[in-house]
Point group: none
Chain length 228, copies 4
DNA sequence: GATGAATGAGATTTCATTCAT
DNA sequence: AATGAATGAAATCTCATTCAT
């Protein structure tokens, strides 16, 4: 009898904290990406995570904290992915090209992360606006960095009239919007999309209408830029 | 004080329906833009509007309907502002330029409208997605017209590798995203934004890093980008 | 201009009070019968009546009063209908028969009245329980009266063990339940239903299983009791 | 006082779910029976149950579901009580008699259950109509069995003019209606009610007014109604 | 470590009713 | 006589959060 009472509950395995935290964060990212911050409920998160609510509160704090943890983790993942894709030893246009491809790749394979970061984190504001702005700034700055570094070699940075960050935001928006447009035009291959964007960004309409085209070159036999 | 005494009835003045509806919509746009759809409360909207909640429900329906009314009104306002800004008798690049100026002018003077349309309506999804898709579709068609007409003059239309509509989608996304970025960088004047985007779209990074710049000209019947 | 202002509203005809009251009561009975007292809304009643709500309040008072007016009017109608159907100069079984037919006839042609009286008035209770009980009692007493008067001739009234009212309630319930059953067995003609009930009530199972049957007789060449 | 001090926690004792569900259902039946479905408020139910509203929603669902749970529980209770009262080894009239006694016994001791089932569930209609139709159907089948078996012995089944099921429906309705009448005439003992109905059903008015009476006998293997 | 049980607070929505014209 | 305009009050339901075990 005493033994009976002391036997720990069978289905509640004692997992190390790190594992539980990952379960919870994964579930939270999924639920936040589906419903947004406000509509996501702690109940659903705990269900999806397979963990009771008190555990969430004990490990990751209240809803706000949990959301913060989510966006921090996903933002870091994205930054790392993009940084890993960039080769510093290639010409600026190829750097931009690689960055864009890495970015697209991340978004494609981590759609939920991207939705949380881009769609929802921006909207919430309020209690942790600063944090969000910071994170978002970092993300945009990364892409912006490419622009700036590309420009730096040629003196664009000195043209105070331009903001690398602003242009990066524009580029990201263009990429997104094109992705949306893609949903209704699935016959276009994905490499073509990236190529369009690169052409638009690199050459501009003016050159395009003149018949010019930008195409990725093999630079040293390594990966990347192999679309038709 | 004398004025105070002259007011016929301190509250419950019987105003015609149209007036109340405007009051309510104005308040709703403000509150939605501040807190987002979910966090905005009907209580706050009714307070700001100076009208009791039952009036809102009676005139504009439930929260969802109210939000829809807001989106539609603001979308129409924005489209009208942009369309009014475009002059059909100038070269394509100048048309695009005017459109962009009108767009950023609108965002500058109707910040709340833009926040509701772009930040919040997109996030909530569901019943509002169609409305936003519509709006964006109209914008894309508008820009697409310019792109195609610009390209037609130079034979771009024959380059099957490119889609005017796809490029327009990208351009619209870029404009939106830049407007969004602007919300957190209010020190930049609106004309500058339009100029950035115009340079990016028309010249491309390639030309920009070479130090070229696109600048609006006085209308003289010629087409733009005369430094290529 | 002065004439313009003074012209009475075109669609709000000045009808005499009695007409308006009838419109309102008719609408109220319909709406109450459809949704019950609590779910019926004054808005719907005013819509159906084609009369504005303030008129209802001015003519027939608040919701409770309105409901009272309804059940009073309908109860009186029913009582009158049943009383008119009964011939005092025929044998007791024929009196009961005529009463039942008159009652059925009323329910069939005034379904809404009956629903309000039987289904809804009973349920509400609360503020006007007494009034309702009274009215209901009157109605049941009428049928009960037939039973009692039939019994009086033969001494049933002296058997204190029986309550005419109680038996009447049972009869009404039987009639109703049979009517419900009828909905799923529409091939049975209505005269047969009344006949069953009469047989059950008059002869009882005991006689029925012995093969006896009660049938209405022509008593003096007048109407009634002519079913197959 | 000493007891007061000994109570471990004045509120929020963690009771197992089953206990709370019973508390809630009991309270709900009481409150629904008092005010009817629409006027009953979840607040009052939660007060009477001594449980907060969220528990109700979590355990038994929204108001509709709660009401359904009530109906189902009480209907089952009633059916079980009646079925338990019927002895299969006695003549049909005695079976009917026992069933009626059990029914009125149940109504007497579970007035609230009956009020909910008969007065309120019927009135509201909509999602509850099926449930009530079901209950009545079961009751009709039960009684129908008796009627048919009584008739079979005497050849009633061959009289195509009659339907055992139809008569059973009428009888069930009579029993219900009499029980309802009883609610306003509580001075009559329940055995008397059963006796009235039994006399009406078995002997019919015709015999009653002649002074005959049906009375239960000790079971002796013979069938009933021996004064016809 | 882990959770079922429990709730305060606040959201949306509806309705009977009255005022001003 | 007649009504559009207006609202206080209350109903249902949900959710983030914590306690007791």
């Amino acid at each position: 009898m005493a033994q009976d009472a002391q036997r720990p509950a069978e289905r509640a395995k004692r997992l190390p904290r790190a594992v539980r935290e990952k379960q919870i964060l994964d579930a939270a990212v999924r639920v936040f990406s589906l419903h947004g911050y406000h509509s996501a409920s702690m109940d659903e998160i705990s269900d999806v995570a397979g963990v009771s609510k008190p555990m969430i509160y004990s490990y990751l704090g209240a809803k706000e904290d949990l959301f913060l943890h989510c966006i921090r983790r996903e933002a870091n993942r994205m930054l790392e992915a993009v940084q890993a894709g960039i080769r510093p030893d290639v010409p600026p246009d190829m750097q931009l090209w690689h960055g864009l491809r890495a970015f697209y790749g991340f978004v494609a394979s981590h759609r939920e992360s991207w939705v949380v970061l881009h769609r929802h984190a921006i909207t919430v504001g309020g209690p942790f606006a600063d944090e969000i702005t910071d994170l978002r700034g970092k993300a945009i700055k990364l892409v912006g960095g490419l622009v700036v570094s590309a420009g730096a070699r040629k003196g664009l940075a000195e043209q105070v009239e331009f903001s690398g960050e602003g242009l990066a935001a524009a580029l990201v928006g263009a990429a997104e919007s094109l992705a949306d447009w893609w949903l209704d035009h699935t016959d276009v291959p994905d490499g073509v999309l990236a190529s369009w964007l690169m052409n638009l960004a690199w050459l501009g309409f003016n050159d395009l209408v003149e018949g010019q085209l930008w195409r990725p070159r093999e630079h040293d036999g390594e990966h990347g830029a192999d679309q038709a």
